[in-house]
């Protein structure tokens, strides 16, 4: 659980259209990195390359020096993508192919407890609200205890109140679950509220225009955070500038 994710010279093109990179960075073994950018900036492409759903055109993605194995990755998509014929428990167990019997039951219980849905185990996806379904998707991703947890705009389809609740769930998970977590988002407040590190991409092709480890930048980013804090607002403005201007100078850490 102490291995870092290394992205080296990663590029991805779809046909003749470059979508991402070249991009190099290292993601720490713990904490939540938010990747923010406009539509088409390559955020989701980066995440799909990390998950093995897309093959990089060039470069490599490794975990502790080795290619990333699917069983080490948990992925929460924009939509819950639950198997509609499986109930909540069975959906959470979907990623636990190598566990059986009591061990699998325990892993399912643990993941459902983490998202507060242990009593909902027998419900079918059609009986769940949007927020509950997305929490089941989060539990499914957490159940195999992945070393990398990828969250691809998991709150984008939710109403503001449910979204806030889900954000609290992710914050809870990020503080109790030891994994490299990457959150893709459009929402600057979300990134600044949840992440330990924020990376801004601008593209296409997606390139890094800002990369901040937040708690190093300001004590205002110690948890719990206050989005009304002056430093929070200042970083929000800077992030907006980075995304709009795309200044290469923003790659360096900004003063607190």
């Amino acid at each position: 659980m102490t291995q870092h994710v290394h992205i080296a010279g990663l590029t991805k093109a779809f046909g003749a259209a470059p979508a991402l990179g070249p991009l190099s960075l290292t993601l720490a073994a713990e904490g939540l990195t938010a990747i923010i950018g406009r539509s088409g900036s390559g955020k989701s492409t980066l995440l799909r390359c990390l998950a093995g759903l897309e093959q990089p055109s060039q470069g490599s993605v490794t975990l502790g020096g080795a290619p990333i194995r699917p069983d080490l990755v948990g992925y929460v998509f924009q939509e819950p993508r639950l198997m509609p014929w499986l109930n909540v428990r069975q959906n959470v167990a979907f990623g636990l192919r190598h566990l059986h019997g009591k061990m699998r039951d325990n892993a399912v219980d643990e993941a459902l407890s983490l998202v507060g849905l242990l009593p909902a185990g027998d419900l079918l996806p059609k009986q769940l609200s949007g927020g509950m379904a997305q929490r089941v998707a989060l539990a499914r991703a957490l159940a195999p205890k992945p070393e990398i947890l990828l969250l691809d705009e998991p709150f984008s389809a939710l109403d503001p109140l449910t979204r806030e609740q889900m954000q609290a769930h992710v914050l809870h998970v990020s503080q109790h679950f030891k994994a490299t977590m990457v959150l893709i988002t459009h929402d600057m407040d979300e990134a600044l509220m949840l992440a330990t590190r924020v990376i801004a991409l601008r593209g296409p092709p997606g390139r890094i225009v800002a990369d901040w480890v937040l708690q190093r930048e300001s004590t205002a980013f110690n948890f719990p955070r206050d989005r009304g804090h002056e430093a929070f607002q200042r970083f929000r403005r800077r992030l907006t500038e980075a995304l709009e201007a795309g200044a290469d100078a923003m790659q360096t850490a900004l003063p607190a």
Partner: protein
Amino acid sequence: MADKVLAPSAAEFTAAGRDAMPVAAGTWRWPLGIILPAICIFAWQLVAGLGWVGPDLLPSPLTVPQTIVGMARDGTLWIDIGATAHRLAFGFLFGAAAATLAGALTGAFAYGRRLLDPMLQALRNVPSLAWVPLFIIWFGIYDVSKILLIAVGVFFPVYLNLMNGIAGVDRKLIEVGRVHGYGRLALLLRVQLPASLPAYLTGLRGGLGLGWMFVASAEMMGASNGLGFILTNGEEVGRPDQVIAAIFAFALLGKATDWVLAQGARRLIAWQDTITLESGRT
């Protein structure tokens, strides 16, 4: 904070459980479906009763139940229904099994589709009666050729629905399997087949319907028993009541077997979040 956030609220469960509410048991609905047949029988009685058409062409509707009862009493009805059901059951099983295998291969594997589908699509357009001489030459006039003809009829709806069902499974669900490390076979078994179950069951219902049509054709071409035999025999001896009785038997048995299949299907795909046509519920 965590405990407060993580506890699912009562409102959440209430909202979520909206679709879990059982349908009120014993709810009686006016059977609209009998209105049209009742009008048809009334018109039929009018035409036959007023003598506009002679009984040698169109017997009274009251004659048909009497004919059915008579056939039931002397036992021929049960023998004929048994013979037809036997042929249909085997034809349906063989046709559906072959279609399931072919549909799974062509739906899940591009090579399988390229290899098999062009030929099967061509064969699909061969009229059913075109097979009859060949089957009779190869297998004789007994049950084997009839069962094969029924199997051909059942095959295509099941095959097409399953192939399209598997090939059309939402890419997003397949990606979930891929991020969890599922290989081709595991994806087929755990994602594609369950997801294509509604299409498959639709194909089975269509196949069963065609099976009834093909069993009638097969028996009319040469059989010494079966409902199709009653049809041809009625024609030969000038008994329209017997022909109409056999048509009623086909309609009732076809509807009954479809109902059984539909009930089974409804249980199997109760997970679908769709409008229930039969109840009008969402």
